[in-house]
């Protein structure tokens, strides 16, 4: 499957599969562009850069569930703590196994915002969360 539509993404939060409450997920990595522009003629008048410090973030759009031990309670208990998040592009309801075409992205994030209630009358209860990743985002082709 050279290209793929995201339908069976697996998202694990501290080892628990939460995919069936996840509407969208984004793992974003950035690095600072540190300028190295000089009088070097080989740059032909263009600015030059090297990569600096790296950072990453995780954005989740969740469909909330207020039932006992369900998503809302789990997220709320993680507020202001570090959580481990794993994301596969494809998997099963029980989870997934990484492979060469199904890489496992793992990160730890600071749960520095939650949104237990958001919406107008008649809206679906949702949480839109963006968490700062602390440390690296790892990509593996093995593991679960």
């Amino acid at each position: 499957m050279a290209k793929q539509v995201l339908t069976d993404v697996v998202v694990k939060l501290n080892g628990t599969v939460i995919s069936q409450n996840v509407n969208s997920v984004e793992v974003t990595q950035n690095s600072d562009a540190v300028e190295t522009t000089s009088f070097d003629a080989s740059a032909q008048g263009f600015r030059t850069y090297v990569g600096g410090l790296k950072s990453a973030s995780l954005t989740l759009n969740l469909h909330n569930d207020y039932a006992s031990t369900a998503l809302d309670g789990v997220i709320n208990s993680l507020f202001n703590t570090i959580a481990t998040v794993s994301v596969f592009p494809a998997g099963t309801t029980a989870g997934g196994s990484a492979g060469t075409s199904n890489p496992l992205y793992t990160l730890t994030a600071l749960v520095n915002n939650t949104q237990p209630i958001a919406g107008s009358v008649g809206d679906l209860a949702v949480q839109s969360l963006t968490w700062q990743v602390t440390g690296p985002v790892t990509r593996a082709t093995t593991g679960s």
Partner: protein, 135 residues
């Protein structure tokens, strides 16, 4: 995971809490008003990953009688009200999980209040949109 039949049956069961209102899953050739006809209008798949949620939109058409019956509009007004024993909205939302088959159910709007022609008879009717969230 609920089947569409389960969801339709759940809506019908909720509608049957209105005394005297008949229900049907298909448009009858000769409706015997007042009758509520529950039809699937739209399905939106993949609302969550791993088929965690599907959104179903049902149309509940309520036919109250021939358009020239003096009582027809009064009866239909009662079905369209947001409160009262004949309120379609209250009845459909009286068991919002449809006895455990759905995550939630809500009546979003009433449209098409007016006449409808069935088998050469013009009836007074209104249509209610029912949004069901289920796996």
């Amino acid at each position: 995971m609920a089947s569409i039949s389960d969801l339709r049956d759940g809506i019908v069961a909720n509608l049957q809490t209105i005394a005297g209102l008949r229900t049907s899953a298909t448009i009858p050739d000769n409706p015997n008003p007042p009758i509520a006809i529950v039809q699937l209008n739209r399905v939106q798949y993949h609302q969550d990953f791993q088929r965690g949620m599907t959104e179903y939109n049902f149309a509940v058409q309520v036919i109250v009688g021939r358009v020239d019956e003096r009582s027809a509009q009064t009866n239909l007004d009662a079905f369209c009200s947001s409160t009262g024993a004949s309120s379609i909205g209250l009845a459909v939302e009286s068991n919002r999980t449809l006895s455990g088959k759905a995550f939630d159910t809500i009546v979003t709007e009433m449209t098409n209040y007016g006449s409808v022609l069935i088998s050469d008879v013009t009836y007074l009717a209104a249509e209610f949109n029912v949004r069901v969230l289920a796996s």
